[in-house]
C-alpha cells in the first residue's frame, strides 16, 4: 500500500497539574498564595458549601425547595474559582457552584430563594455585575465572552485595568456548540476570559466517555487556538493555581484559557435524579476516597494546621451562619403577584397595562389562576 510522505505542520501538548495527592500529601511545593490562612479559608468555605448543599437537599425533601443541584464532592472547584476572582472581575456561573457563590458574596438566602422559585434570588446584592445562575447548558460561555469583550472595551476606551471574566460549566456542556463558539471567539479576539470545566464524570446519566471521544476535555481548547490545562479538581490548590495563572495572563492581555478540573459528582444530579439507576455503588465508593474536603483535612492535619477542636469550633460557627441565612430566607415577605410585570421591561409598555390591571384585580378579588 502506498504511504505518502507527510510533513509535520503543528504539535500540541496537554499537561496535568496536582499539588495534593488523593491522600492529601503534597506532591510538590505549594505556591506562595497557599498560606496557612488561605488554606484554612478554603477549608472553611468548602465546609460551608457542603453544609448549604446538605441543608438545601433536605429542604427539598420536605417540599420547601424545588429541584436543587448539590455540589457534593466538587467543593474545591467552586471555592478555588470563586476565590481567584477580584471583586471587579465578573463571574458567569453555571448552576453547580455553591462554593463559588459563597466566595463571590452571594448570600445563602439568595441561593435558597432562587431554588425556591423566587427570582429575587438572582439579584445578587453583593455581586452586582456577576451573571445570574445559568440553566441552559453552555450558554453562559458565550455570555462570558461578551462580558470579556465589554471588559476589554472599557479597558481600551478608559485606560482602566483589564478585568477578567470567568465562566464555569460541566463537562457535558463541552459538547454544545456554544462552548466551542465561545472559545473560538475568545481566541481570535484575545478576550480576557477563563473557561473552567468541572469534569465530574457525569452529565446526569451520561458518562464522560459517551460525551466525547477525546482523551481529555482540556484538548478542546486546541480547536480554538487557546491554551489549556488539566488539573486535579479535588485539589483546591491545583485548581486555584490554574485559575489564577490563567487570569493573570488574561489580565495581562494575553487572552483566554481553558481549565479542565477533574472531579466526581458524589451526589445525585439534582434532587430530581436517582443516580443509582445508572451508576454503581462501587464507582461511587471509590470516588469518595479522593474527595476534596477529606483530602485537604488530611493535608492540614499533617502540617499541624488543623485539629478536632478547630473542627468543632468551625462546625458551630457554620451552623450559626446557616441558621441565620435560613431565618433571613424564611422571613422574606413573598413577592406581590404583579412582580411578574415589574421587571419585564424597564418601563411597562402601554400595551401591557390592561393585563397588569387584570392581574392586580384578580389578586384583589382573590382569584387563584
Amino acid at each position: 500500500m502506498h504511504k505518502p510522505r507527510l510533513q509535520l505542520q503543528a504539535s500540541f501538548d496537554i499537561a496535568w497539574l496536582q499539588y495534593l495527592d488523593k491522600q492529601g500529601r503534597a506532591t510538590q511545593p505549594l505556591p506562595e498564595f497557599a498560606s496557612p490562612d488561605w488554606l484554612a479559608h478554603c477549608y472553611r468555605q468548602m465546609q460551608l458549601a457542603r453544609l448549604v448543599d446538605d441543608r438545601a437537599v433536605k429542604l427539598q425533601r420536605t417540599g420547601r425547595l424545588g429541584t436543587y443541584p448539590s455540589s457534593l464532592g466538587q467543593e474545591a472547584i467552586g471555592v478555588a474559582v470563586g476565590n481567584a476572582l477580584m471583586k471587579e472581575d465578573v463571574y458567569c456561573p453555571y448552576y453547580r457552584e455553591t462554593g463559588a457563590f459563597l466566595e463571590r458574596g452571594v448570600l445563602i438566602e439568595e441561593i435558597l430563594a432562587n431554588w425556591g422559585g423566587d427570582e429575587r434570588g438572582q439579584n445578587f446584592q453583593h455581586a452586582p455585575h456577576d451573571l445570574p445562575i445559568c440553566i441552559p447548558i453552555a450558554t453562559q460561555a458565550l455570555h462570558a465572552a461578551g462580558v470579556a469583550f465589554a471588559l476589554q472595551y472599557r479597558h481600551r476606551q478608559q485606560g482602566t485595568p483589564l478585568q477578567v471574566a470567568v465562566t464555569s460549566s460541566g463537562e457535558g456542556a463541552t459538547s454544545k456548540g456554544d462552548f466551542y463558539e465561545a472559545m473560538n471567539l475568545a481566541g481570535v479576539w484575545k478576550l480576557p476570559v477563563v473557561f473552567v470545566v468541572n469534569n465530574n464524570q457525569w452529565a446526569i446519566s451520561v458518562p464522560r466517555t459517551a460525551q466525547t471521544a477525546t482523551q481529555t476535555i482540556a484538548q478542546k481548547a486546541i480547536a480554538a487556538g487557546i491554551p489549556a490545562l488539566q488539573v486535579d479538581g479535588n485539589d483546591v490548590v491545583a485548581v486555584a493555581w490554574a485559575v489564577r495563572d490563567a487570569m493573570a495572563r488574561a489580565r495581562n492581555g494575553e487572552g483566554p484559557a481553558l481549565i479542565e478540573a477533574i472531579s466526581y459528582r458524589l451526589c445525585d444530579h439534582t434532587t430530581a435524579d436517582d443516580a443509582s439507576r445508572y451508576r454503581s455503588e462501587e464507582e461511587l465508593e471509590q470516588a469518595r476516597q479522593w474527595e476534596p474536603i477529606r483530602r485537604l483535612d488530611a493535608y492540614l492535619r499533617s502540617e499541624g494546621l488543623w485539629s478536632d477542636a478547630k473542627q468543632q469550633d468551625l462546625d458551630r460557627e457554620l451552623a450559626q451562619v446557616m441558621e441565620a441565612a435560613l431565618d433571613n430566607w424564611e422571613s422574606r415577605p413573598p413577592e406581590p403577584a404583579t412582580a411578574i410585570f415589574d421587571h419585564l421591561h424597564a418601563h411597562l409598555p402601554e400595551g401591557l397595562y390592561e393585563q397588569y390591571d387584570q392581574l392586580r384585580d384578580e389578586q384583589t378579588a382573590g382569584v387563584r389562576g
Binding site: Y95, P136, S175, V206, E335, I340, L344, G369
Partner: protein
C-alpha cells in the same frame, strides 16, 4: 412492561407507544439525553434501551441543535428517528434544523427526500421545576410551514397520536404536557391503533358555549365546564390535539350550536395559538358569533419561577371568568 388493558398514565402511554413502534418498525430509532439507562428524566423511555438495545435507543452528547440536525440526516436515508428534547425550554437551539431543514427537505427536493421525524418534548408548567422547565411555546413551531404540532391530553390520545406521528411521513413536533404525565390513569390497549392526526376531539358536548383547550389545560377546562354545568350552562369542550394543521371545521361546527367561544392556553397571549383560532373563527363564523372569542392564557410576561407560577397559569377561575364574559356578551346581544 406495561400490561395490556391495565390503566396507565400519560407518560406510560408514551412509553407504550414508543415500545410498540420500536417492536414493529425496524427503522425506528430513539435518541436524546438520558433516555437510555436512566429511562428519561420523566421515565418516558423507561426500559426501552434494555429491551431494544443501545443501537436503537441511544443517549446523545449534550447538544439539542445536534439532536435536531442528525435526525434530518437519518430520516433522509429512510430511518424513522424519534428525538427527545429533555424539556421544551431547551428546544430553541434546535429551531434552525427543525424549521430550515426537517420541515423543508421534502419541498426543497421536490419529494426526493423526506423527514419522517418525531421530535418529542415534555412541555408546560406546573411541576415546581427551575427556570426554563415550564415553557409552552407551541405557537413558535405552529407557525412553521411543513411541520405538524401535536399535543395529547390523555393517556389514550398520547398513545394513539404518538403512533400516528411516528407513522406520518413528515416531521411532527409532539409536545407532552408534563403536568398531567401522571395526573390520571386510563386503560390503553397496546393494539398499535393510531388516532387520526389533524382531527379535533370533542371531549364534552354542550350547547351553550365552546371551550377550546389542549394539553394540561384540558384538565382545568373540563373542571370549569363541570362548574358551569351546575349553573345550568352546558359547555362543549374541544381539544384540537393537532394544533397545526388545525381542524377548524370541528370548532365551527360547535359554534353553530353555541355562538360563543373561549380559548385557553398556558402560553403567553400575544401571538399564541389562541390568536390563530380566534382569527379563523371570525373568518369562518363571523355571522355565528354572538360574542368576541375570549382568550384565557398566560400573561405576556416571562414564565415566572414557581412561586408565582399559579398567578401566571390560567386556572379554573380565570376560565370561568372568560366563559362568563362570553356568555354575558351573548346575552346582551350585538349592539
Amino acid at each position: 412492561m406495561v400490561e395490556e388493558n391495565s390503566a396507565i398514565t400519560l407518560v406510560e402511554a408514551v412509553n407504550q407507544a414508543l415500545a410498540y413502534a420500536l417492536a414493529n418498525d425496524p427503522q425506528v430509532v430513539l435518541f436524546g439525553q438520558d433516555i437510555g439507562a436512566n429511562g428519561g428524566v420523566f421515565r418516558a423511555t423507561d426500559g426501552l434501551q434494555q429491551r431494544f438495545g443501545p443501537e436503537r435507543v441511544l443517549d446523545t452528547p449534550l447538544a439539542e441543535n445536534m439532536i435536531a440536525g442528525i435526525a434530518v440526516g437519518m430520516a433522509s436515508q429512510g430511518l424513522r428517528p424519534i428525538a427527545e428534547f429533555q424539556f421544551m425550554g431547551f428546544i430553541y437551539p434546535a429551531l434552525d434544523h427543525i424549521l430550515s431543514h426537517a420541515a423543508r427537505m421534502r419541498n426543497r427536493t421536490r419529494g426526493r427526500l423526506s423527514c419522517p421525524i418525531v421530535y418529542r418534548a415534555p412541555y408546560g408548567s406546573g411541576i415546581h421545576a427551575p427556570e426554563h422547565h415550564s415553557e409552552s411555546t407551541e405557537a413558535i413551531f405552529a407557525h412553521v410551514p411543513g411541520l405538524r404540532v401535536v399535543v395529547p391530553s390523555s393517556p389514550a390520545r398520547a398513545y394513539g397520536l404518538l403512533l400516528a406521528a411516528i407513522r406520518d411521513p413528515d416531521p411532527v413536533l409532539f409536545l407532552e404536557p408534563k403536568r398531567i404525565y401522571r395526573a390520571a390513569k386510563q386503560p390503553v390497549p397496546d393494539d398499535g391503533e393510531a388516532l387520526p392526526l389533524d382531527r379535533a376531539f370533542v371531549l364534552r358536548e354542550g350547547r351553550d358555549l365552546t371551550l377550546i383547550a389542549w394539553g394540561a389545560s384540558v384538565k382545568e377546562t373540563l373542571a370549569a365546564a363541570e362548574q358551569l354545568s351546575t349553573e345550568g350552562i352546558e359547555a362543549e369542550v374541544i381539544d384540537p390535539a393537532t394544533l397545526k394543521p388545525l381542524d377548524i371545521h370541528s370548532i365551527i361546527d360547535s359554534l353553530e350550536k353555541t355562538h360563543c367561544c373561549v380559548v385557553v392556553h398556558e402560553a403567553a397571549r400575544f401571538g399564541g395559538l389562541g390568536a390563530e383560532i380566534a382569527a379563523q373563527i371570525q373568518e369562518y363564523a363571523f355571522d355565528l358569533l354572538e360574542a368576541p372569542v375570549q382568550r384565557v392564557t398566560g400573561y405576556d410576561t416571562v414564565m415566572p419561577y414557581y412561586q408565582l407560577e399559579n398567578v401566571y397559569l390560567p386556572g379554573v377561575e380565570r376560565i370561568l371568568a372568560g366563559a362568563r364574559a362570553a356568555l354575558g356578551y351573548s346575552r346582551e346581544g350585538r349592539q
